[in-house]
Structures are given as structure tokens and as C-alpha cells.
Subunit: 276 residues, 2 copies
């Protein structure tokens, strides 16, 4: 999905909602718990009930790897399902990979070819040579961790370098030249509203993937005020608040309703030029 | 495998060799290339011919994920094979994971329970709360990236913080208190011999996992001189130089021979107290 197609979908759906399919088996409805395909069956229903509202789905690989080979199969199956049924929705693998260059090439192949997602999250710790192999896939999105929503962000990401710049800013500055806004996004947590202003100044045009609204305490209004640009430029992720809204047999309806409510809030916050 | 058992194995085998099973399908011998189980079949033979010399095997997840669900299955199968046939060899999943705490718990479950490896590599970028869930597994090893062997290490890992300390040192200092030397190791590339001296001063007792000897230009002798302690304290990884020593049908014999040669060099470099 291109930058322009993504902006178009945001305008059409009046939404910049990314639904996080963090399908933790222990939180699934009781009637699915013991099914060997529980993750996929759960995802399928959640996807169908939220697809009218979501412009992106984000699958965190941890919840699938925790189920072993069968979990990896359900991750792949979910990606294929979204791509077939809802081809206008961006599919993000939230895998936070990062390794030296030949190895990075294999991760790129794993996610961009074998699994065929649109976008992949990466950890920048090992430096820019661990990122460049992904940017060779011009039609795919590389999403780099900058400032994450967890409290541990203060340990290293927010540490000041000798030049006075916090590490996450150095990450943005060194990486933003690696690819155009059409193939590069950054993760910035909603729990850092002040830093979001700074990131938007550094990256006026790029999309930001924003976790941390809801359960982690970030405010949607503040994220919009500090981070939105003329093309929206934001994908706000919500996971548990949507997918685990209800854990009865009606979980999918509840997820759809919650996604719809988020979209209604988002609709009112989008630039008129996009939704006009 | 405990700290003491690892030191004992090093003494018995007169080796601190970690064999990296970076089983890139495109580099496998021609007769295996098209076999659906190629990675596992290749690994099995390499393992049997090198097990007398290796104290650890390291499986980089990228090469398996690049093959999709079938690749993940072969990764698991390889781990099970080593644990059954060679229970005194440490099995490391080189996955470089890192995520917020509830997600990190699922990665810990994926690797320490589902796949049942002894050790897992982690990226520290997101901070200490992304590392602690792994350290709850007291009988497992958590291996944190500090200073990696690639040239991109200069982008962030070697950057000086405002207090004059390079980032990788801050990573070591903040993380080394999270667990004892019995469950925590750090990755330090052989391509940084001077920094290895500094790391050993910061961590007199911990094991270091050292990539970068051989193809990447690091010297075994320099690593030993700068990084060895009384318990050895080093696992030196070699991948391609061993597993792809020969790509004919005799690949496993060649791998065994190369591992034996490395071990002979290592034997001469170990403290007398260990091999006595």
C-alpha cells in the first residue's frame, strides 16, 4: 500500500485506527481457548467486525511465537486472510527485529516475501546497516522504533547524548535519510506528548505509528494536537481496548462497536481537507 | 545448563566454541537445496560432526523465519535434536527480541517454554522493563546485546552519552544488576578488542558471547587476551567458517574438521586451571 493510498483510506474511513491483534490465548473467550486454531479463529472474527473502521492491523509476533510452530502458522494465516478479504488495509508485523546485514536480509525475506506483510517494525540498536536491507523493498514499509510507550524508554531512548540530543532523536535523524516518507515510519508512544511535538518538527511528512493510547494512559486528543499533519500522518494503535472489549461469544461485536466509537472520535479530529 | 556446568564443559572439551547454525538455504549443498526439510537435515549432520568440539550452538531465527512456518518447525526440530542427543551443549536462540513487558513475557514463553532453548539474545533498546520478564526464568540464560560486531555499532552503541559513557556501557551497567552471572551474558563483538578490555573490567565474572571472529575480521587471540577470565568467560561464535566450510556431500566432515581446528587453537589459550 502506497503513502497516497494510505492517506486515501484514512479519508474514506475517517479513521487512522490501527487495530493490534495481540491475540493472547489466555485472554480469548472461553469457547475458543482449547481450539488448536484459536488465534486465527479469534482474529478472523475480530477482523471482519472491525475492518470497516481500521486502516491498519498490527500483529505482534510474540503472541504467535508463544504458541510454537502452530502459532507461526496462524500468524501467516491471519496475514493472508486480511490481504485476501480486506486488501485496502495495511498489514503490519510488529516484530521489532534487528540484526547484521546478511541476517537482516533474511528477516526482510521472512516478512516481506514469505509472510507478505506491508510493513515491519525494527529495533535500531545495532545501527543503520541493520535497517538498510529492509529499505531495499521499495513497495514495503519499514517502521523504526524511536520512542516507545513503556516506562523503560527512559533507560536508553530518552538518555541524552554528548551533543545534547536524546538517543531517540539521533535514531530518527540517522535513519530518516535511509528512505523516503513513502517507505519509512517511526514508532512514537502516546505517553510522550511533548516529545511528539519534537518528532513532528523533525519529520513533518512521515507517518508515525503511535501505541500507548488507552490502557497505557496516552490521550488521543493530545496525540492529534501534537502529532497530526495535513495528511494525518498518524496511525494510532489500540489492541486490548478493542479486541478484548468483551470475552463472551459476542467478542467480535463488542470489538466492532469499540472500533466504531474510536473512529467516531477520530473522524472529528481529522483535517477537513481529508474527510471533506 | 548452569554456570558451573558450562565452565565444566569448557574444561572437558578444552573449547569455548559456539557453532552458529545460520543455515541459509541458498548456501546449502546442492543435494539438499530442494528438500523441504533441508535446514533440519543440514543441521543434524553438522551437529553430529561438531558436537565433540562445540560447547554451544546458536540458532539465528532469521534463517528459519525466512522459510515461513516450515522454517519455524525446523528451528524447533533442531533445538529438540540437540537437547536429546547432546544434552550437555548450550542451545542459544539468537532472536534479538525486545518488547514491552506483557509482550516480552510471551517471547519468554515462546523461547524458554515452547521451544525450550537454554538461552535467548535480546535487544536492550526499549529499556530494562523489556528485559526483566526473561530473567524470571532463573534456570535460563538471558543474553543482552551490548556492542555488536557490525560497522553500524558506531551509529548508536558507541555513541557517547552526556556523562561521557558510551551507550553500550550504559546498557551493561543498567542491565548487569538485573540478574546474576549465572543467568546473564552480554554480546560483545570481536571486532572491538579495546572495548572488550573495558567490558571485562565492568563484568569480571560474566560470560560474554563473542561474534565476529573469522569472516568479520576479529582475532581469537586478541579476544582471549582482552576478554578471558579464570572461568574462561567467553563463548566465541563461528558460523559460516564452520558450517559452510565445504558445500559438497562431505559438508559435515569439513565442518567437523574446521571445528576441531578451532578447538585445538582454543585449547592452547585456556587457563591451565580449567584444562589441567
Amino acid at each position: 500500500m502506497t503513502y497516497n493510498q494510505l492517506v486515501e483510506q484514512i479519508g474514506l474511513k475517517r479513521s487512522f485506527l490501527c487495530v493490534g491483534l495481540d491475540s493472547d490465548r489466555s485472554l480469548l473467550p472461553a469457547h475458543l481457548q482449547l481450539h488448536p486454531q484459536a488465534l486465527f479463529l479469534f482474529n478472523k472474527e475480530v477482523i471482519d467486525s472491525t475492518a470497516a473502521y481500521a486502516v491498519a492491523y498490527k500483529l505482534n509476533t510474540a503472541f504467535y511465537e508463544a504458541e510454537g510452530t502452530n502459532g507461526w502458522a496462524q500468524l501467516s494465516q491471519t496475514v493472508s486472510y486480511i490481504r485476501e478479504r480486506h486488501p485496502n488495509i495495511l498489514v503490519i508485523a510488529d516484530a521489532k527485529r534487528g540484526d547484521i546485514s546478511n541476517t537482516a536480509k533474511h528477516y526482510a525475506r521472512a516478512f516481506f516475501e514469505e509472510m507478505n506483510v506491508d510493513a515491519l517494525t525494527l529495533s535500531p540498536y545495532m545501527g543503520t546497516d541493520s535497517l538498510t536491507p529492509f529499505l531495499e523493498y521499495k513497495e514495503k514499509w519499514t517502521i523504526i522504533l524511536a520512542l516507545t510507550s513503556n516506562s523503560g524508554a527512559s533507560d536508553f531512548e530518552l538518555q541524552l547524548l554528548a551533543n545534547g540530543q536524546p538517543l531517540y532523536e539521533a535514531v530518527i535523524q540517522k535513519s530518516c535519510t535511509l528512505g523516503a516518507k513513502e517507505q519509512l515510519m517511526f514508532v512514537v508512544g502516546a505517553t510522550h506528548p511533548q516529545q511528539l511535538v519534537r518528532v513532528r518538527a523533525l519529520l513533518p511528512e512521515h507517518f508515525l505509528l503511535v501505541p500507548g493510547v488507552g490502557a497505557q494512559g496516552g490521550s488521543l486528543e493530545e496525540v492529534v494536537q501534537n502529532g497530526m499533519n495535513d495528511s494525518c500522518g498518524l496511525l494510532v494503535n489500540m489492541s486490548r481496548g478493542i479486541i478484548f472489549a468483551d470475552n463472551s461469544r459476542h467478542f467480535a461485536d463488542a470489538a466492532g462497536l469499540r472500533a466504531k466509537e474510536m473512529t467516531q472520535k477520530m473522524s472529528a479530529l481529522l483535517p477537513q481537507s481529508l474527510v471533506g
